[in-house]
Subunit: 367 residues, 2 copies
Amino acid sequence: MRTLTVDLGDRSYPIYIGEGLLSKSGEYFLQHQLTTKSPVLIVSDENIAPKYLQTVVDSLQASGYQTVSSVVKAGEKSKSLDVFEEVMTAAIEGGLDRKSTVVALGGGVVGDLAGFVAASFMRGVHFVQMPTTILAHDSSVGGKVAVNHRLAKNMIGAFHQPAMVLYDVDTLQSLPERDVRSGLSEMIKHGLIWDEQFAYWCRDNADRLLALDREALTYGLTEGCSVKAKVVSSDETEQGLRAILNLGHTIGHALEAIGGYGEFLHGEAISIGMAAAAQLAVNRGRDRSIYEETTALLAKFGLPTTIPGHLNDEEIISAMLHDKKFKENQIVFILPVRIGEVEIVSDMTLDEVRQVIKQLKGEGQHV
Amino acid sequence: MRTLTVDLGDRSYPIYIGEGLLSKSGEYFLQHQLTTKSPVLIVSDENIAPKYLQTVVDSLQASGYQTVSSVVKAGEKSKSLDVFEEVMTAAIEGGLDRKSTVVALGGGVVGDLAGFVAASFMRGVHFVQMPTTILAHDSSVGGKVAVNHRLAKNMIGAFHQPAMVLYDVDTLQSLPERDVRSGLSEMIKHGLIWDEQFAYWCRDNADRLLALDREALTYGLTEGCSVKAKVVSSDETEQGLRAILNLGHTIGHALEAIGGYGEFLHGEAISIGMAAAAQLAVNRGRDRSIYEETTALLAKFGLPTTIPGHLNDEEIISAMLHDKKFKENQIVFILPVRIGEVEIVSDMTLDEVRQVIKQLKGEGQHV
């Protein structure tokens, strides 16, 4: 078991990563002085709840906690205000009060939804994350929680730090293979933006990670969370540095949006986005090796690095311009400098983006 | 014009109180370095918007701001998640971004609703309050924003401090008389909990305040906001001292709830609650003068100090026990020690509450 601390002054919290943690939930709750006098609400989804909800409930009850649960449908559609209201209803009917804790048992959707419930129920109660996907190692650090508006993703939310994160790697064993690859894409991103050694460790341990080796997962998740924790600690409310976490996300989000959130998993879309960022860096004069190394690393994980030909270039551009990351009409991109280091670029032109889309479709000239 | 600073470290902000402020909105915005590059959303209601929206829009536009507005129905029903979503839609369609400002132009309902939009749109944008009621002098200090859940009031919200409050006393001139009295009830409360001199000033200036004398209103609102600001500054997230602001609210909220939020205005209900608190203090051994002074002061403002006979005692008790202010089954009351000082009492018994209800109905024996 590894422990990592996200350093945020008063709001610092630990991430515990290892095997068999869910069955010790109650002990961790007591250790963190979460009161047994107020009910705990566990939010989960229909895929995860049958597998792990009872384990958590049993452990919490054995430690003296009273629990209620709210199980939502699996998938992005549950990040809506309607489902948010349903979970709030469960919290009120379950008798939660200001000293209560809300638990997110699941992946990123459950984490974001339950996190926004924790942030806003009675103006904020304790929050505990229990991620059950690899992708959630990203969203479980940083305190960003939100639901979607029908017009745009993650528009309604808060910054709300958890009291702790219990990351039980046993829950990852039953993940579908495509979700595994997609999740590892964010792990690789953390290497690419900050930690050359970790990026190369990912490359050299791709097979172990894809085989869900518990030791490799524990190490990789710890390092991935650690990068994110360092970035978040230095920029809690996303004023500057934190933007580097968006490597691959500018084009990635656009691809997700025009694919209707069905064609690409998040990690797949940002994999293509990271390849695009590397190509853009080369187009702007970086050595071509940055593109080759990036795409070779992603390919070792079976992740895509090209844009399918049937997607319309201008639709990608249009989706990108609608993305909330653009403030005051500046197009901000994160580009690699070398493996393990990136820079924030605010003067990207639409022509450069059009060019890279063609290049990633295999239509344009690679520089 | 008076200026008061709410001292909250990084989140400190000024309250400007005086005449003609709305027509200078743009200047205040510029002075507070709110960017002209991002659209401003003004939230108001159907009663207030026809009177003052254009004034604010004209002033902001003259200073270079682009504005969009969202006008909701007047009344408590607009503090719902549905209306919250509508305002979010206006924000997205209006092109607001992370540097934008949301303005609340109206009373407490608009302030709470727009404030929660500001707190959660893109995880938080700037917020400016422009209160148009006397009652809102209370809710415009402290950063508590929220919408209602159908099962309970103010269950979904945040602490989100404004960048500034522009309190234009000209807007108070058209308030209905009953709203004036109700608003002054919270002003009196601020005297009773913290400032003997101000409480007596209210008593001695009741006629000027009820006649909406601008100078008296400016002074009274400044002093009332000042008390609240001092309490909030020392307890931003309501861990302890801030509870004293709930003088009269324990029974007051119960009366509002069983009257279906129609029989009593908020200030009327807490006026009865303050009388009840004073009687409870006497029942526990304080000098009878505290009850007599409190009720005489409230009576000078035409505020009620008795419980109507047709209300059912046990329904009042039941509504009180459902109120969210009770954590871990303790009944917390704020009782006067003398005019200008209160204490927090956590060992109130239901029998004592039953007794005071009877006393305020004129049924029980006054001690």
